[in-house]
Symmetry: C2
Subunit: 210 residues, 2 copies
DNA sequence: AGTAACTAACCTACTGGTCAGTTACTAAAA
DNA sequence: TTTTAGTAACTGACCAGTAGGTTAGTTACT
């Protein structure tokens, strides 16, 4: 009988597998309550091996957040920067793209994780603020500013209006991740995006004001 | 010299003092990372005493959430139920009242706490969903429905529109609690409320559509 | 004197992190 | 083609610090 070996050397594949398992565990339990033993087991290794790839629980956590969220922000930025369409179209498109992220549970988990652990990891909160929040808000603000400058949108306070744009999107992510598994009514992301975009475009429209 | 006693019997005052200290500690570190030793010390007692009033860390946590949030929900409900003003006025008033909660850090901490620990405390998440989210959403939905029925607001999908109302308010709470202490730009709650109410009322207005 | 609120030392389970030893794989020698 | 070091990926038992929870004893109050 050819015994398959009890384990294999897979130096290349480990980090990603560990990150994936860690994200799931952190998302489910939070940083403090997540156990490295469980993360390692989910990744098909033991705790000792985990430490060959990441120096500490804290660094693993940071790597998880950084690696998961940054590509998504860049993708959203690309949507806006590339196009030459009217601001109204771009805004609707941005909201729709964002709502698609609701389908990816791992993405929905990230905001919760960062907010949860902001007290324990100030530098992570700062990183997230600088690299995600600021860029995301900047994206929306730039779009609004463009629309105002082009005479498409009313002259509103762009800084605060961006909150009205992003707030519901964040809420839907938190809803999906934290509330739906606990009995909350399931969310139709596409319908929500349509409703939100419709309300916003009407709120920003020049119609009815000279 | 009359030594003051090393401690006093204060059976009545302890529970509230413990709850207050626990809220601060839970808000700062999350459930798992908060230490009962620290909570007790902040409340001016020792760990053993804490267990005379609460049977476990978990029950203490639940009592904190329940006791802090329920009165606030009831207060907001009262704002809407009592008045006979037009829906537009009530909506603006509701948003403004809500924004005042931003001044109370303990209140801002609650949503974060519940979302953070929803995975570890399904029954708490469920309680919060039933007693806070559903009631809050119901409040807004009822208001919108009233406005639509009265011909004040456009006929919109009230269920989704409520997300557009609440999302930015929740975002501002999380911002205040988790981001501002980590370098984020401080938020002017009143200005944000004005901007948000203005956008919403215009989004809902009948003007420009027959 | 009696009692119940309170303390502080203690117990125990847990978990992040370590490390000596084991095993899969490689590649050169036979 | 087979044998045989050599090495680095990997394991699993272990350690030490920590914190939830307990309780015997102390002290404020009636």
């Amino acid at each position: 009988m050819a015994d398959s070996p009890r384990w294999r050397r897979r130096k290349e594949a480990r980090p990603d597998e560990i990150l994936e398992a860690a994200l799931a565990e952190f998302a489910a339990r939070g940083f403090a309550a997540a156990r490295l033993h469980d993360i390692a087991a989910a990744a098909g290794i033991t705790k000792g091996t985990l430490y060959l790839y990441f120096p500490s629980k804290e660094e693993l956590f940071k790597a998880v957040v950084r690696g998961t969220i940054l590509p998504r922000v860049a993708a959203l930025e690309a949507v806006v920067e590339a196009a030459e369409a009217p601001a109204a179209v771009l805004l609707a498109s941005l909201i729709q793209r964002w709502s698609e992220l609701l389908q990816i549970p791992q993405i929905c988990a990230i905001p919760k994780l960062v907010l949860s652990e902001s007290g324990n990891f100030p530098d992570l909160a700062r990183f997230y603020y600088d690299e995600v929040i600021t860029r995301g808000l900047g994206l929306v603000r730039g779009l609004l500013r463009r629309g105002v400058a082009a005479g498409e949108f009313r002259p509103i306070d762009v800084d605060y209006a961006a909150f009205s744009v992003i707030g519901p999107l964040l809420l839907s992510m938190l809803w999906r991740h934290s509330l739906e598994p606990n009995g909350a009514a399931p969310l139709d992301g596409a319908a929500l995006a349509r409703s939100h975009a419709d309300l916003l475009l009407r709120a920003l429209s020049m119609e009815g004001r000279p």
